[in-house]
Each structure stands twice: as structure tokens, then as C-alpha cells.
Symmetry: C2
């Protein structure tokens, strides 16, 4: 028996169980014996039963949809990877995702949050929010908010990303190859303009300075250059170009390696090195951050990788706690995940060191 | 008067109009005078009224959500741009978007289509479907299907992308710079495994051959090399590397320029040229296709650009026709949009030609 319009009663009849048992299996709540669960699932399959999600949403006061706020992956491919990871983790757990790619327009953020409220999302995930006040309607409506990497909204759950493990591995690898003069080219902090301090970029620069000191390099020989993060439109010049030009033109800083605060900064740095005829890695080593498009660059770029899968899982653990599906674990407001170093073709021995 | 729970009746009272008039403005249907429309919109603003989208969906038999099927932008940044364009066009018209990034897993496609059916999407957009039979449940349920670039499902609306304008501009630009030996490195056709011929890749290779003949180049000197499109996982070697190595090692094909069938193929080609010490554009010119990440490469890559905005608008024109919101225009099953050439730093005179 297969029909486009099978009901839960059809499933119960086919499985030879009570409607209550069928409902328990289909909604995954309450005790059901393994044998009965198996029969109901087989009957779902054989009848072609599909839950009516709209009716189910109204009944359970849940929409099984989530909101996601980030900037556009057109300007920064990091967002491709983080949204893919979070969307996949959500989909695996039966949630669909509404996305706002604000591209730094507060108006787009406001409109997106309105859509989230209209759709009745169960929770909202902020990878990069612009203004605290735009988020407040969600908080006032009692919708759980989860922040990733930046924590500048007091009421939000927080997935912290620890830059230290990846940064330590990067600096240690360079030191082991004989590099003593290593620069960090990073981004100036871009927290919420009206929120608390949520400066992910600053944490990366601090992680660099701590690693430099940890592996015995001289701070004086390891400059930190900070500027814009990424282009505001797809056809802007890459900010890494300006920063690399500044660094290379300053002869006090004759570095043999550069760690970039993002792959997109590294892409601009590689363009300048290419134009100047400096070969990577024989003349200079380069390491990116995010591992978002490192494999496409020339040479294929070593990069400090974001733990995308772990971020997706941590976000969904908060969602399930917050919407009350998982009451087994102790409540926590913060989870931390770790970066690591992915090696490709852009690291070599310091020139003249071997 | 501002409240989280303002009703349409509150809006009517505040605007001093009848509930029918308020409903007409809010649902944008039927005649309302400009004066009354203005008062209702001001009252919506001042009361903080938000339409209850779930209730509205049930009443209007529409979910105001759409489904989008594509592969993952992690493997091919083209999908970042096309999904951004379609999502933005949808959002501008009040539709939210559910997305399936199948990453070439038919199982992921099947599960995604199931989610679309459960959510009751109003239409589904296929940028890259895997199997005709996976799409059939949508067709059977009467849900409009719109295909972009590939047209291999008979019942689908079709947004055709014309490769000729961009390809002609690319070949003409190279010919004007004195290039006589130009290679095309493209992808083998990847249509639906059980659908009609929907070979977007083949159309790009044909467009190249036609442009070669149009601008008087000798077909014998302009080889076409076809292979895999893009890596199956983020850490695979780039397919463009293998194809470029093949081309450069075949001494019958001493080309001075390469047009790639995608930016991702161009990225692999640039890696091989980098390793061999061939400088772009002084030794060899390179042009990509898609304009999906061309600005991040070294050197910044000229690329045949997909008309992303026009694709988004054409898709939504079909959606609005199909769901019956726009009955003014004559019905059409196919709309065509055109590519163009974006110039950056990777095209120069043919070596020795000036």
C-alpha cells in the first residue's frame, strides 16, 4: 500500500500497532519496544507516509527551522564552509535553515531578523552579526540565540573557537624550518558596533604573539600588521595586497615568512609576492587562516583550519538543549572547539638557513 | 501603540480603515486607495504588527518557501554565487529558501527532496540535480521545477545560460593580443545520469570551437582537453592540474593562452604554471569561466562571468508565474541569459608577437 496521502492511522493499521504507538515512533517521544518501533518504521516506508510538518509545527509549537546570520560568502569564502557545516548538522537533525547574508548592510540584517520572526524559527545562529539592537527583537521574543566565535551579546550561547592550537603549530613549524623573522598580517577587530568586546580578529593576533614568545622567537623581529579584513565587494582590490605591500616596503621588516589572519588576506599577499617575483616557499613561506579556499591558491596554501564539523555539532547541541529536545545533559552556556594546522605547499626552509 | 502581539484588527483600528482594507494592503491583493494604503502601512509600522506566516500559509495554501538543489560550494565556489543570487532574488520577493547541497550523494538529494515535500515548498530550483528519478516525487506532487543551465527534465522550466557572448569576447581579446594557439581545458559532460541531454559543459567547449572559427584561428592549433570538473573533496588534487600537465607535456600543443571551462579548473592550471616557472601573462595568458573566485587567484584572473543577477531574476519570474502570483505576462517555459568577459590581470600579448 503506497499512497501520497497515507495518514498516521494508515501507518498504525499497516504496522498492527495502536495509533499512540505509531505517533510515539513518528514523533520520537515516549517508550516503544524495539519490535514495535521496527514495525512502525517499516510501515512508514511501505505506506509512503509523510508527516505534515506545518500541522506538526502548530501542534508542537515548533517550526523545525533555524535562522543563520552571516555575511556573504562572495566576499569571504569562510562563510561557505561555516554555513555548510551548520546547515548539514541542522539537516541531519531534521531542521531546515533560513539564511541572512547581510554583506555588511544593517538593513539586510534587520529584514532578515524580521523574516526569522515571521517564520517562527526555533533558534538563531549568529556567525557574524552587525548590530546588537538588530538582534534584540529575537531576545525579546524568547528565541534562543547562539553566537559563533564572537561573543558580544550577553544573552547568547557561545561556541568559542580557540586559535591557539593551530597558531602554535604554525609558528612551531616555521621555527623548525629555521625562520626567525615571521610577520602576522591580520584584521583589525570588527565586533558588534553596539555590543560587548567580541574580537575574534584580535584573538588571532594575540595567539600569534604568544606563540612567538613560546617558541623563542624575538618579538622585535616578528611584526604584526593589521588592516581591513576582506573586500567590501567582489571586484574590490584585496586588502591583503595593501598590507603586504606595506610590510615588504618597510626594510626594517625583512621577514622570511608571513602568517595571514585569513585565507583571503593570504590571497592578496600571494598576489603581491607573485608580482614581485618572490617565489613561495623558496623565497618566503606563507600560511593562511580559515582553510576556506587555501587549496585553490598558487601554491596550494598551508592554513590554520577552523574546526567546521565541530562548530556545526556544538551549535546543534545548543539548539537541542535550548528547544528542550535534549534535557539529559547538564546545561552550559559555552562550548569551545580548537583550530589545527593543515599542511600544503607553501612552507619551506628559511632562505639561507640550511 | 507598539506591541509584540498586534493583530490585523489593531492595524485597522489604528489606521481608521475597515478590516477588509487592512487585509487587502497586508496581503497586497484587491483595490485600495493610495491614501488608505499609506495609512495602513503607517499603522503596521506603529503597531509593530507582524503577519503570522504559518497561519497565512495554511490559509493561502502556500508556504512562501522554495527548495534549491545544488552541489556544495566547498568543492566549487560557483555554487556560492548562484545560490547567493537566487536566495537574494527570492528573499526580495518574500520567499525563504531551503537548500540541499548534495555533494554528489544521491542519498543526500533524496533526503533533501523529502524535506522539501514535508515543508510544502511552492517550487524547486535545480542548479545541479543528480538523478531524474529523485526529482519525480516533486513533479508528481505538482510542485513546479525550474532548471538552471542544464535542461534534462522534460517537465521543468528552464533558465538557459548562453556561453557564446562571453566566449566570443574571450577568444577575440586573445586574438587581438596576437594569440594564434589557444587551448580550451574543460569538463566532460555531467548531465543527469537518467535524464535527457543537459550538457552545460559540452556547450562551453562548443562555444570555444565556434569562436575559434569565427575569429579566424586555426582549429588545428587550438586543442580542446576535457576531464574532471572539480575535486570530489576539499583536499583532493585540483583536476585542472592533471589537465594542464597533460597539455603542457604534449609538445604538439605549444599554446600561448588557455581558456578554462571553470575558475576551479583555472586554479589548478595556475598552480602548474607556477611550479614550472611560467609567468602569467608574460609567458602565457589564462582566462577562467564562472567568475566565482577569479579575483583571489595569482594573478587576479580574467574570467567569463555568469550573469548571476539575471539568473536570480529569471528563476523568480518563473516562480511567480508558476505559483500564480503574476498572471499578467504570457507564459513561457524558457528564458535565456548571457555571459560576458570580466578583465583582470591574466591576459597579455602573445610572447614574441609584438
Amino acid at each position: 500500500m503506497r499512497s501520497q496521502t497515507a495518514t498516521m492511522a494508515d501507518v498504525a493499521r499497516e504496522a498492527q500497532v495502536s495509533p499512540t504507538t505509531a505517533a510515539r515512533v513518528i514523533h520520537n517521544r515516549g517508550y516503544v519496544s524495539d519490535e514495535n518501533r521496527k514495525r512502525v518504521l517499516e510501515a512508514v516506508e511501505s505506506t509512503g507516509y509523510r508527516p505534515n510538518l506545518q500541522a506538526r509545527s502548530l501542534r508542537m509549537q515548533r517550526s523545525y527551522s533555524l535562522g543563520l546570520v552571516l555575511s556573504s560568502a562572495r566576499e569571504n569564502p569562510f562563510y561557505t564552509h561555516i554555513s555548510h557545516a551548520i546547515r548539514t548538522a541542522a539537516s541531519d537533525r531534521g531542521f531546515s535553515m533560513l539564511t541572512v547574508n547581510h554583506s555588511y548592510s544593517p538593513e539586510a540584517e534587520v529584514n532578515g531578523i524580521k523574516q526569522f520572526l515571521e517564520h517562527g524559527v526555533d533558534a538563531t545562529i549568529l556567525c557574524h552579526a552587525l548590530e546588537n539592537k538588530n538582534i534584540q527583537p529575537l531576545i525579546q521574543a524568547g528565541i534562543p540565540v547562539i553566537q559563533v566565535e564572537r561573543h558580544d551579546i550577553e544573552q547568547a550561547y557561545f561556541v568559542a573557537i580557540d586559535p591557539d592550537p593551530g597558531m602554535r603549530a604554525a609558528v612551531k613549524t616555521l621555527a623548525d624550518e629555521g625562520h626567525r623573522r615571521v610577520a602576522f598580517i591580520g584584521a583589525r577587530a570588527t565586533g558588534l558596533k553596539d555590543g560587548g568586546p567580541g574580537h575574534a580578529e584580535q584573538r588571532r593576533a594575540e595567539a600569534f604573539q604568544q606563540a612567538v614568545s613560546l617558541y623563542g622567537l624575538d618579538e622585535q623581529d616578528c611584526p604584526v600588521v593589521l588592516g581591513e579584513y576582506f573586500p567590501r565587494s567582489p571586484n574590490d582590490i584585496l586588502p591583503g595586497r595593501r598590507l603586504a605591500t606595506m610590510l615588504l616596503d618597510d626594510h626594517r621588516c625583512a621577514v622570511t615568512a608571513i602568517i595571514a589572519g585569513s585565507d583571503i588576506l593570504a590571497a592578496g599577499i600571494l598576489q603581491v609576492l607573485y608580482e614581485r617575483g618572490l617565489k613561495v616557499p623558496s623565497d618566503i613561506s606563507v600560511i593562511g587562516y580559515d582553510d576556506s579556499m587555501a587549496q585553490f591558491l598558487s601554491p596550494a596554501l598551508s592554513s590554520i583550519a577552523q574546526p567546521y564539523l565541530a562548530i556545526g555539532d556544538s551549535v546543534m547541541a545548543f539548539v537541542e538543549e535550548a528547544v528542550g529536545q535534549d534535557t539529559s545533559s547538564a546545561k552550559t552556556r559555552e562550548r569551545s572547539v580548537s583550530t589545527s594546522l593543515v599542511l600544503r605547499d607553501s612552507i619551506g626552509p628559511a632562505p639561507g638557513s640550511f
